[in-house]
Subunit: 186 residues, 2 copies
DNA sequence: GTCTATAATTCGATAGAC
DNA sequence: GTCTATCGAATTATAGAC
């Protein structure tokens, strides 16, 4: 089977869109920019994705893909969770950069991040610590991980961007560990 | 002395601009929106602030205003720092919401946040723990505090927004405490 | 000081030729 | 499938009357 030309064009548009959306965010990204980046005609974008919103909805996807065995060795869960987050984010084409870059100003992106929290992170935390305190614990975890991603990948704040993966994991792992299993205020 | 009309107009524009910029970010905010919110003519905005960029530069300001005595009771520094952050952010007109809402897509806003880190937070951390590990520690603190602000005030993520100030401080204080004085990876 | 009119751009989207 | 031409809307910014 020869791959159809239209599919190759579509893939090229998708890749270019991910790149441009991740770099400048939804508002500043233009269909013309994306088409130029993909070396195709701007009208092709409309043909294949219908609208700028349609292209964004197609591109701005993210699956946290948490492993099932996080609760098995509870004393190292924080570190493993931190390492997993970083690995997933740094996967090319994960779509997370697209989402986070636009979340502050684009309601669709913001809603998808909220959905990842409530549909993926929260259930995992429930499975680990039970339903009672899970929302608080998941919320604290989300705040730290979103802040890390914002500082390191979106804003590229010097001190955070300069740290190695190992330093990040060693610094943040214990935080997640405490957010999972440490004491909590009522 | 009667306050001059022009000054009152300028203040009204500033207040409206802060509100609109904080709510929808730099790109989606329009001079017309801001003028309508301030009940003045859009041309007045140009007259007093020169351009949309000029207005944003005037509005998007933030002073972390860290107290000098943070290092004096080192065992409670994390909690006091967390409480101080929250108090400053929730001050009306602090300009922090304006900055954070636009930081992901606006280079000026991003640069100002980076400046707060390097010129205000970092020196304070240096004063507490010395210059050696200060950048890492300040970077970790920034990641947690920016993530909290993003989750709670910008994205309004359910679980984070639902927590009380006390719960936030109890949850995040120990994290900052460890980022300040705990062990670090090399 | 205030407002009207409009210039100059930019962009998403459409129509239709080839 | 691909591309040209262009519409229509929105927005920043300016010129100038009052």
């Amino acid at each position: 089977m020869i791959e159809r030309k239209s599919e190759r064009t579509k893939s090229a548009i998708r890749a270019a869109a991910r790149q441009v959306f991740a770099l400048v965010g939804y508002e500043r990204a233009t269909i013309r920019d994306i088409a130029r980046e993909a070396n195709i005609d701007p009208a092709m974008v409309m043909r294949y994705f219908g609208s700028k919103d349609g292209l964004f909805a197609d591109t701005a996807n993210f699956d946290l893909n948490l492993p099932q065995d996080l609760g098995e060795a509870p004393d190292k869960a924080g570190e493993r969770m931190a390492a997993h987050f970083i690995a997933v984010w740094e996967q090319e084409g994960s779509g997370f950069a697209v989402l986070l870059r636009s979340a502050s100003s684009n309601p669709v992106a913001a809603a998808r991040i909220a959905a990842v929290l409530s549909e993926q992170l929260l259930p995992a935390v429930v499975a680990m610590v039970g339903p009672q305190e899970a929302p608080q614990r998941a919320g604290l975890i989300a705040s730290q991980m979103l802040g890390l991603a914002l500082s390191r990948y979106v804003l590229s704040l010097g001190p955070v961007a300069a740290m190695s993966r190992e330093q990040i994991i060693a610094g943040i792992g214990p935080t997640l560990q405490r957010y999972l299993y440490g004491p909590l205020a009522r």
